[in-house]
Symmetry: C2
Subunit: 382 residues, 2 copies
């Protein structure tokens, strides 16, 4: 069996904004793309068919969570992550490094990798660049990430530089392991991850060094970790011009709708974020008119839907009064409907972004969506 | 506008088992019927469209919960419970009495009614037969219940008799209020509730007295409250023959699949129970082969679906290993899929019951489903 190579096609550009297509063993990913987060092999509170119907071409799985439960070996025995979670489209996995540093207990970093204890049962594990790639291969991930070290900001320049240099050495080791496991031959891709915190010259150095390595794509890590939005955007402005135009660029863990349109304007192609799913379970709705907190008492008697023009039943069919009731009563359907609404809004925004770039009117589109958010929610009736 | 009268048609009988049809302002209810429980205006972890697609003609709403939150007056302002919860089919409501006695704090019973404090915020409320019917009318319920007093078993005969007699006096008052609110003219029905605990002559006396009152249907309450199944079935055997054959009979809060087929065999037409929904959220699956506990480690590597012959994706599409993972990981999708499976199994069983009665082979059907449950789950592979 011949598997076609992983590829990226640039279909159109509009300023720095790019409209493209990533080809993986599980289909085409239209970019700019938003990837719903499926941490534990499920996009929380959603059936996979719903996620697909909203227009998602790819979901993200978390290596750290999956290696601990149900374990990568078990997923492999069961036919891989696509079959396990009933998602026969593209899957991107992170390296596990970010969660090891943020969730695991008693972690110890060395040149070799990180040892840590599971947050679930305290069991001891070792994560190295090689092991991360091995796990991602067992999961059957189409788009894999090198292991890196991601610092929280603010951090000292010296510390940022050390972590960035370590990440470059881990990039080499990750790549070697990916080749050894036949990743490219299976049509899979491995992305290198740009680090460098909020230090401009370190970001450039990281991006330049990675560009010399044969990755299928480039991630921008270590942003949206506590710094102001303008810092993040400045880092993008100096990073994306250094990256090869022929490869997709993925801004990890970002972000709000505003973060996304601003990052697309700076040449980013792929995004993932827990916001639409997490916020949904907590009663927050993303809409054309900005964010709406359904917990607020002003919705208790409001018969209007979230957005009657939406094609998503979660947004169109149920009253705000009902959503308010469900969230207040702690009913699962509240999170199901708001997550549905939020992912629908994110995916429709991505479609709008893609259409606008193709039509050469991305700047206008960006201004229009911002105007909608600024307008805010319509006042309650009565 | 003329609304047709609430009606019950007996289409076929097979022994004591009855195949019928209840007509309400929101459609036909095929009996024997199982009513999924939608306590707080939602069948937990299910979209209403799914509930309908599984074959449910009616869902149950809990008056106690809804009167406290979002309140009956608010639901009425928002267009009634059908619109509020996006269920344009029949809704049955209980009287609230059972939950007042089991959930509320500091309750005080008198001839007039019950005063109690909300389990949500401690606020004081009064529930009388008149207020219960008023609330059910505000909700827009198609099938309403008289207020009654439901005792837990075992209980002394004297106490059982007192509660039964009180319930009869409340039946009269409930009926008067229902007439006053124009219930019959709106095509709605009010059911009287047979009480009498596990005391045969009190059950008969209750059923006889209620049969003299003009109810659209008869509920059998105060069973499945701690007594063995054979006691419950004996009570049914002496109760249903006393009730008018021309009215539907509803066994409240029952039950397991076995309880249901045995009760149908004794002349019951309608059922409700939280088991399929609650069990689903706790990792238990109802299937043709009995109950399966997905938490059990034996499922961790099992690639088989729950039931590949089921028409429900929750039963057919996902492996037991995946369901096991979701439940262990506390993922909402686990409860969503298992609830879906369980309600699908219950509704397919009801369809089987209805078909069997029409075909005059209900006894055979009962033997067959029991054989399946007794066979138990297939052993794991490997």
């Amino acid at each position: 069996m011949t598997t076609e190579a992983f590829s990226f096609s640039l279909l159109a550009t509009d300023g720095m904004a790019r409209r493209g297509e990533v080809k993986t063993p599980h289909g085409l990913v239209r970019t700019p793309a938003f990837m719903p987060v499926g941490t534990q092999a499920t996009v929380k509170a959603m059936y996979p068919e719903q996620v697909r119907e909203l227009g998602a071409d790819v979901v993200l799985g978390n290596t750290y969570h999956l290696m601990l439960r149900p374990t990568a070996e078990r997923v492999a025995r069961l036919g891989g992550l696509h079959t396990f979670m009933n998602w026969q489209h593209t899957i991107l996995t992170d390296s596990g490094g970010f969660q090891v540093m943020s969730l695991a207990q008693i972690r110890k970093l060395s040149e070799k990798g990180v040892t840590f204890q599971s947050h679930i049962d305290g069991s001891r594990h070792e994560m190295t660049p090689e092991r991360s790639i091995e796990i991602q291969g067992l999961l059957g991930s189409d788009i894999q990430m090198q292991l890196d070290e991601c610092l929280r900001l603010p951090a000292e320049r010296k510390e940022v530089e050390r972590a960035m240099q370590l990440s470059l050495r881990w990039a080499e080791r990750s790549r070697a392991q990916f080749e050894k496991m036949g990743g490219p031959g299976k049509g899979r891709g491995l992305y290198g991850i740009v680090q460098g915190g909020d230090v401009a010259d370190l970001r450039v150095a990281s991006a330049q060094a990675l560009s010399q390595m044969p990755f299928e794509g480039y991630s921008i890590g270590g942003l949206a970790v506590g710094e102001p939005q303008d810092v993040m955007l400045r880092m993008l402005e100096i990073t994306t011009p250094v990256l090869p135009t022929t490869k997709p660029r993925y801004l990890m863990g970002v972000g709000t709708p505003d973060d996304i349109v601003e990052s697309v304007a700076r040449g980013v192609d792929m995004f993932d974020c827990v916001m639409p799913t997490r916020a949904g379970r907590h009663g927050l709705a993303y809409t054309r008119f900005g964010k709406i907190n359904l917990k607020n008492a002003r919705h208790a008697d409001d018969p209007r839907p979230l957005d009657e023009e939406s094609s998503c039943p979660g947004a169109r069919t149920y009253s705000r009064a009902y959503l308010h009731h469900l969230i207040r009563a702690g009913e699962g359907l509240g999170g199901m409907l708001l997550t549905w609404n939020n992912l629908a809004y994110y995916q429709s925004m991505m479609q709008g972004i893609r259409d606008a770039i193709e039509a050469g009117r991305f700047a206008d589109f960006k201004a229009e969506v911002k105007e909608g958010w600024a307008k805010g929610d319509l006042p309650a009736l009565g």
